[in-house]
Amino acid sequence: MSTVYALLFIVATIVLVLGLARKIVQYAKTPAPLKIPTTPAPVTQTGVVMRMFREVVFFESLFKSTKWTWIFSWMFHMGLFVVLARHVRYFVDPVPLPIALIQPFGIYAGFAMVAGLGGLFLRRIFVDRVRYISAPSDYLMLLLLIFIGFSGLMMTFLIHTDVVMVKQFFGGLFTFSGGELPMDFALIMHLTLVAVLMIILPFSKLLHIPGIFFSPSRNQVDNPREKRHLAPWAKKLEES
């Protein structure tokens, strides 16, 4: 059984890395022929980096829009971020100091994450406009993440998992030396769902993760009069 999971995680990692890399290359290669930043926009590259930082870390545009969605999604994303950072300790040894320090916060973050996801789920059901635009995959994605968070919390509060064994398993995975996974229900559910998430990420709306960095309305400098912007295919039009 542990071998199956070892294989599953190797496959999931390959799919995630190659799938994402493929999309990132595709986005990077596709030209943006026109200057279309949503203005007022920064007039310098540094300004663009700041704008992107505010967008990625604080969800600036969403904050301007609707406070409920912002609260729920910020709780979820920041919770997830801290939880992921906390998980680093299962993969590296010795554990770096910052990772050791955030361990207690990771627990609260786990609750914040699940609560935020719950809020987003309820919003999807009860706001008629959001219900209208939701496909089955939109609900399933939230459920997947909720169950991942829930099974993770279960391991801390209900059925304690032998994390030392888990760490040995993943350590073994890196060195292909094998290792046994504890066969707890919560852990198996947690790991299965995480693998599923990793596999579907490059084929789903989770592409918003690389997408935001390539969004021309957010990543372009507002300087069209000062600097001529020309896509390769548009240049060909001039030569013909």
């Binding site: 301007k64 969605t69 935001i212 548009a234």
Partner: protein, 512 residues
């Protein structure tokens, strides 16, 4: 076609986010382009037999040429942030007028044909085949988007529905289902030089008439020159400025500002149109062809600077795209940005003190300012971000004593479109135009009630035409919409007097 009956929404103090009403605007559609409107633009005259395959092929082509299109189709997480931001949704309740609802009409086809999930699990991810019904939906709802970009302000990924609408219109035009209004106008630009099909001699007559009008009123010979070689400034302005009200009062104002600033300027017959409807239909090639007229006119007339008149989408193409489409402009005076907005020009002159302004001339009015969508969210004026909000207001405040802004969430980057932008300014779309104006009309009525505002100024030909038509539907007066340079025109004191021999009609017989 019988005039469609519809009810004008009632104005209240707030625009409530409505509950959705599916299919509320499904009946609204606009005239399809005929072969004579399609072919000059390089599109097939009629709907082609293999439209399905060609549409998918075109979508693939656009996906490879526009990063925005690809990233925006992939990135939407259906968070709902944009759902209550579109004026057309607020005015019609139709969920396909929610920005994401509109995008999804195309996204579901993209997913079906271009993504793994959509190919193998279409039901799960909401993917769908491109059918006759889907194409009809596209035609209907992608012509209910004014490409105003309000949704893109609030989207956490900056997804701009305008980009999707433009792509959809490009695909439709490529399979022979173009929009009559836009394509007919573009064909006119190619043939005659402007959107209204105003030929050179008619233009010369009109400008002469303006000179006489100004002379009759102020006894100063302000010139409105056409095709003057060697002039310093080429003014490119929307053709509506030549005769429509209140546009023409703005043009009179530009002339007076140039006169007082003591610069030489000219209009051009061949580039007698600032607007570029190539953007509305998403066609880079047509947009470029229209833009090149400006470059050619500038070269032919040997000007040093290019200034654009009051026009919203035109300013977007001018400010953001002109350098790309028709540049480089290294043959012009490098001391000035290319192009400049007339408001930038006037504000510079005001700051330098070259204009004498008598604000009291506008004391009969209390003003507010409508930020035109494309100026607000797709361009800039001056050197600092947000100049597109401040400079027109600075100009207004320099020529008027009474000015009040509308509510904060209806101005600046949050401004609402007038309801007629993006190729919708046609009578066959009157219902969506009236309903889409609801948020702006609400904000205007509030500032009228609370601050006693009497007039609303704008810097866009479409906004001016749209409000002239739509204000009466909401029980207001069509003359409440004014040009910013009309206010300048009224306040400016003409100090550069003309010798009598330069007066219009001097020495001619008085028998005409």
């Amino acid at each position: 076609m019988a005039k469609a009956k519809f009810e004008t929404p009632e104005l209240s103090e707030f625009v409530d986010v409505p509950n959705i009403e599916e299919g509320a605007m499904a009946h609204t559609t606009c005239f399809v382009a005929k072969p004579e409107h399609q072919e000059p633009l390089g599109f097939p005259g009629e709907k082609v037999d293999d439209w399905h395959d060609r549409a998918i092929e075109k979508m693939g082509d656009l996906l490879s040429r526009y990063r925005s299109f690809r990233v925006y189709l992939d990135s939407c997480v259906k968070c709902g942030s944009c759902t209550d931001k579109c004026h057309y949704f607020l005015g019609t309740k139709d969920p396909k007028n929610m920005p994401v609802g509109r995008q999804d009409l195309l996204r579901k086809v993209y997913r079906r044909y271009f993504t793994f999930a959509g190919k193998y699990f279409p039901k799960l991810v909401g993917a769908a085949d491109l059918t006759e019904e889907v194409l009809d939906d596209w035609y209907s709802y992608f012509h209910q988007c004014s490409q105003c970009r309000r949704c893109s302000v609030f989207c956490p990924y900056g997804i701009d529905t305008a980009e999707i609408s433009m792509a959809a219109r490009e695909i439709m035009a490529q399979v022979g289902v173009g929009q009559k209004y836009c394509n007919e106008i573009i064909a006119k630009v190619f043939k005659i030089g402007n959107n209204l099909g105003l030929p050179g001699p008619a233009l010369a007559d009109t400008l002469e008439g303006l000179e006489e009008d100004v002379y009759d009123e102020d006894e100063v010979a302000v010139k409105y020159p056409l095709d003057v070689k060697g002039a310093d400034i080429l003014l490119v302005t929307p053709s509506a400025d030549f005769f429509a009200e209140p546009h023409v009062d703005g043009l009179i104002g530009y002339g007076k500002v140039f006169h007082e600033a003591g610069v030489s300027w000219t209009l051009s017959t061949t580039a007698s149109e600032a607007a570029n409807f190539g953007m509305f239909i998403g066609s880079y090639e047509n947009m470029r062809r229209i833009s090149l007229r400006v470059r050619e006119a500038a070269l032919e007339l040997g000007v040093k600077r290019i200034v654009f008149g009051e026009c919203g989408h035109a300013w977007r193409v001018a400010y953001s795209f002109l350098n790309t489409l028709a540049g480089p402009f290294d043959f012009l005076d490098p001391d000035y940005p290319v192009p400049q907005h007339i408001c930038e020009f006037t504000w510079n002159e005001i700051q330098q003190g070259t204009l004498e302004l008598d604000k009291s001339e506008n004391d009969d009015k209390t003003l507010t300012f409508h930020d035109s969508c494309n100026v607000a969210r797709a361009t800039r004026m001056g050197d600092t971000p947000g100049g597109q909000f401040d400079i027109p207001r600075n100009v207004i405040k320099a020529v008027c004593n009474n000015f009040y802004d509308m509510e904060w969430d209806t101005i600046h980057e949050r401004t609402f479109c007038c309801g007629g932008g993006g190729g919708l300014l046609t009578d066959d779309l009157m219902e969506i135009r009236v309903k889409g104006a609801l948020p702006r009309m609400t904000a205007l009525q509030n500032v009228m009630n609370e601050k006693g505002v009497t007039h609303m100024a704008a810097i866009c030909a479409i906004c001016k035409s749209q409000f002239t038509k739509v204000l009466p539907y909401y029980g207001m007066d069509m003359y409440q919409i004014v040009s910013v340079h009309q206010l300048v025109s009224d306040a400016i004191v003409l100090n550069r007097k003309t010798p009598p021999e330069e007066a219009p009609g001097y020495g001619e017989d008085d028998d005409d």
